[in-house]
Each structure stands twice: as C-alpha cells, then as structure tokens.
Symmetry: C2
Subunit: 336 residues, 2 copies
C-alpha cells in the first residue's frame, strides 16, 4: 500500500488527460463529456482529494476566515455557531481566536490570525488596537468589525443599534414610574458602552428627568463589577428604584449580589439588562432585556465578508440591526 496521497497528476495519468484538464474539471469549468467521465472515474478510483494547501499557495486564498472576539461567552458562541454554518456553505472554514479584552493579547491574536494567511477577519475589539487594525487593513487583510466599532477604519461593519435599544428600554422603565435609574456601564473605551450610555442619557433628558452622576457607574465589563455596582447602588442613602445593565455579564454580577443579599428583582430592585442570554427567561422572575439579533448579526457578518471576497467591492459598508425589547418580571411598576 502506497502511503502517498494521490495527486492531480495521478488522476491525469489514469484518465489519460493533461493535469490542466483535471484542474479545469476540479474548478467546475467545461470539460468534454468523455474526459469528464474518465476523470470522475479516476478520482473515485484513486480516492483523490484536492490538496487545499497547494491550491491555497497558488491562488493566495486559504478559504479560511478568522474570528477574533474577547471571549467565547453565550453571545459570541451563538454567533460562532451560525457563522460556521454560513461559511461552510460557501466553502470557507473558521479559525478562532480570543483576546479577553486585553490589548496585548488582542495584538498577538491579530498577528497570529494574519500570519495564518486567512482571507478575512471578523473582529470584535476595542479602540486600543485601532492602529494595529489599520495596519492589517493596509496590509490587505479585509476586516469586518462587529459588536464594537473602531472609528475611521476602512472596514465593513455589522453593528447593533445600541443607542436606540437602550433608549427604548429606559423609556419603558420611566413609563413604569422609575425616575432614579441606576446605569451600570461597560468599559467606555468601547463604542458599544458609549452608545448604550448615550441612549440612557438622551432618554433621561428627553423625558425631562435629571441625570445624576452618582447613578452612573463607569467601570469594566466584568461580572464582579456588576456585583459591586449593584451593592453600591442598593446601599445608597437614596437608592435608585431600577438599574439598567450595559450587558448580561454585568447583570449577572448584579443578580449574584442580589441573591446573596436576598433581594428579589422586580420587587426590591427593578432591573433591565442589555443582551438576552437563554437563562434570563428561566429565572424567577424573568429578567427584562434588550435582545440583540444574534442570528442576524452572524448572517450579516458572513454575507458582507463573503461578498467582499468574491466580488469586487469598493467602499466599506455598514449594516445596523435593531434590538428587541423583552419585558419580563424583573421590571414592574415602581411602588411608592
């Protein structure tokens, strides 16, 4: 048994045609019927499978796309799932990288991804690596940004209407009678966090409510931050009656604190969260949330990226998607 994989040359010999003809066949171009039959026979007889590496070397396209996210949490994993399907259907594979919100790791991962000669990169990162990203784009790596925007980068974008989503939620909170609304922000170094905060500020101002600095908690995206922010709010002399969390991780930290302090959401404290992980609907009461269109985000990512790779796209494009407000038990009428 010969352990060398059969090559296009073996096929050509067996089918008695030139290698170029086999290549044409493999790439779906027109072939004389008689040749096609013999080539097909030879291929199946030899168990031939085109070597994607050799092909990639010649075409300078690896047919693989990188995904670089902060962490593989519920949100990004859902995106990953949909993405794998969409890409697979178009002949692309997905290479995964993560950076844990750390600039150094971000740059390393970016470097690792690029040196893999991926055809494109789907990127969720912070502005800290703006210049590095610009360098990659200049170096001809097409990038599609999502979740978080990097201003001025010549890239496609799939964004979510953070501002409107938050604004709608805050408006509903106000309609429920809440006036002192705590806001737990994520890292303001990320556009996502800034937009959500703005949605809150706009709505408060639009509806004529005072914005109090002590009710705006500005730190990072961590669960522990959600925890301490919630404690701080709850222990205030004049605490807010409701809290908005900029992400489900922060809200999760808040829930952790409330559970420990025997505070019941929707009763002792009303809460609303950006993002809607599966388990929000399993809690009692359910957590009111601003749900991102995860599936649509992933599909747009695939679509934008593939269309850029396969057609000759010039200008960067941006897709903006709307969120869905899910009212559950954790938000109710303010009691007084």
């Amino acid at each position: 048994m010969n352990h060398r994989n059969p090559t296009i040359l073996d096929v050509a010999k067996k089918a008695d045609v030139a290698v170029g003809t086999v290549s044409r066949f493999l790439n779906g171009r027109n072939i004389r019927k008689s040749n096609r039959d013999r080539i097909e026979a030879a291929i199946s007889e030899l168990g031939f499978r085109a070597n994607v590496v050799a092909r990639a070397m010649k075409t300078e396209r690896t047919k693989s796309i990188g995904l670089l996210v902060p962490v593989f949490d519920e949100f990004n994993s859902a995106i990953l799932s949909v993405l794998v399907d969409e890409l697979q259907a178009n002949g692309y594979s997905l290479l995964t990288f993560h950076h844990g919100h750390q600039a150094k790791a971000m740059i390393e991962a970016l470097e690792a991804a690029a040196s893999r000669r991926i055809d494109a990169l789907l990127l969720s990162a912070t502005e800290g690596i703006q210049t590095e990203v610009e360098r990659q784009v200049a170096g001809d790596l097409p990038i599609t940004l999502f979740n978080n925007d990097l201003p001025e980068v010549a890239a496609d974008r799939v964004l979510v209407n953070d501002r409107a989503g938050t604004a709608q939620a805050v408006r509903r909170m106000i309609e429920f009678g809440h006036e002192r609304i705590g806001f737990v922000s994520g890292d303001l170094f990320e556009s996502t966090a800034r937009n959500r905060l703005e949605g809150y500020l706009d709505t408060m101002r639009d509806l004529g409510l005072p914005v109090e600095e002590e009710l705006i908690w500005k730190q990072d995206w961590s669960r522990s931050n959600g925890h301490v922010a919630t404690r701080a709010f709850c222990e205030m002399a004049n605490p807010p009656t409701a809290i908005f969390y900029s992400s489900y991780i922060l809200a999760t930290g808040g829930l952790e604190y409330m559970r420990g302090a025997s505070l019941v959401p929707g009763k002792d404290m009303h809460i609303v969260s950006f993002d809607d992980p599966d388990y929000f609907s399993l809690l009692t009461p359910g957590i009111t949330a601003v749900a991102q269109p995860v599936k649509a985000v992933a599909q747009s990512l695939a679509e934008l990226t593939i269309s850029r790779l396969e057609n000759d796209i010039d200008a960067p494009r941006t897709v903006t998607l709307d969120c869905d407000f899910k009212l559950r038990g954790s938000l109710g009428l303010k009691k007084d």
Copy 2:
C-alpha cells in the same frame, strides 16, 4: 509600493546569503553570528513573514487542529476557550466545526475538516459515525475523542467519569431520603448517556432500591425532551420525589416546565443535573449538579494531541477525569 509580499528569497538576497540559510535561521538552527545579524536586519527591514501555506505544503503539516462538536453550548464553548489558548501557545490554530447531533452533518463536517488537511481532530460525536471515523484514522488523521467514546477506535481519549459522577449524585439523593428517583436520559446511542444511566442503575441496586422502568425516561438530549419528561413525571399518579437529569440541557427543559407549572425545585420536586453551567448557581434555589472538569478536559485534549503530533507516540492513551458534586438548594430532604 510593491504589493508582493517579501519572500525568503528577498531576505536571502538582501542579507547576501542562500535561501537555505534563511530557512535554517527561521527554523531555529545554528547560524554564523554575522549571517544571523544580516538576516535579522533584512527580515525586519522588509517586514518579512514566513508564508505558512508554502511551509505547510512542503512539510505536510498545517499546524492547525480541528474541533468538531455537536453544538457550541456553554460546555463546549468553555472547552473551546481553553483549547485556543493552549494550542496557540504551541503554535497551532483551531478550526471549528459542528454537527448538531445529526449523522449526515457529522460526516460532512468530518469530511470538511479532513480535507482542510488539519494535523489532528478533536471529536465529540456519536457512534453513528464510527466507520467514518475509523476511515479517517486509517487515512492517517490522528483523532482525539472526548465527551463521548467510540469503542474500538484507535484514538486518544479524554473522558469524564460519568458513571461515578452520576453514582455519587444518586447516592446523595438517596441519603436525602429519596427512593423514587426519576432519571431523564440523553440519547442512549452515546456512551455518555449509557454510562450515566448505569451509574444510576448501579447505585439503586447497590443500595437495595427497586428500579422502576416507568421512572426512566429514554429519549434524546433536547431541551424539549427535558420539558416533557418532567411533566410526565410530575403528573404521574405516584410521582418520583426527585429527578436526575443526564445533562444541563435536559434540566433546563425541566426547569422551564416547573417554572410554567409554578413548581419550585427543592420543594415541589428535588432535582440534580449532570453538568454545571454558570447560571445554575444564580437560580433560586441553586441547582445541585455534577460538575465536569471543563478546564482539565480541554487541557488534556491539547496535551494528548500535541504530544502525539510532536513525539512518536504508538499506543492510544486514555485520560479519565473525575467530576465534582455541587450541592445546592434544589436537592434537600424528602419531606413526608
């Protein structure tokens, strides 16, 4: 500006050495000091980065590893995260695939992964594709199985002691006074499900309790199955006082039903689940669970696989890891 990427040849010219020498340098072999200096200078001046594709073609190693799982749920995503880090640290990248428990998709994904010329595959699959897997192994693709075993396949394995984990949990349930214990199994086509069921059966028998067929619900791994199983158990004339779920997905379905029926875990029905997703500890009461050592699984996967690739390993090896029992409010003394 010349848009062609610099090659090893450009470096060689600029440093005034032969390409072979540059290659030696790139691969960390000994180089005369004077040459080394000039090569380093040339590389940084040109911004040269070795083309991994060309290298892969010559060495027949892509330095990439595939991960094929049913779905990217909380469990597999956690594995993915750790894996990416471990592999990256050793110069490997991770290609992701999923199959949604469906035989056809499994085979397709396996095929897609293999044709990518990955160096190895980390696989969580069912016995339905045993023969396909064997074919890949025969075709020289090293496979490391995890989560679910495929008997007789010549592969490395990272398994969890499902049987002992379940047995311990059931023993604790019995210690709490439960005698009629419902068991919601996953797809018995998977060793994981079979082992967990055996852990239950063994323990019941060992402790002299009768095993009643009507208390063993055998279906698939779906959330809806957990839902209907729980309803069926709860609506029995003589219902069990506690239920064990073979996975957190099943338990989640159960919780969904209980929530709808206003049944409180740990009060109206005692429950224990295999797997311990983050949110179990956030529910009130917390869900008692058998926690898999997710991180250790991922680390073992990386270690076993990389050591097989880099050394000359002969026989298949198996790593078996133990679970951790997490007692929370959803399991308590049987009231009578």
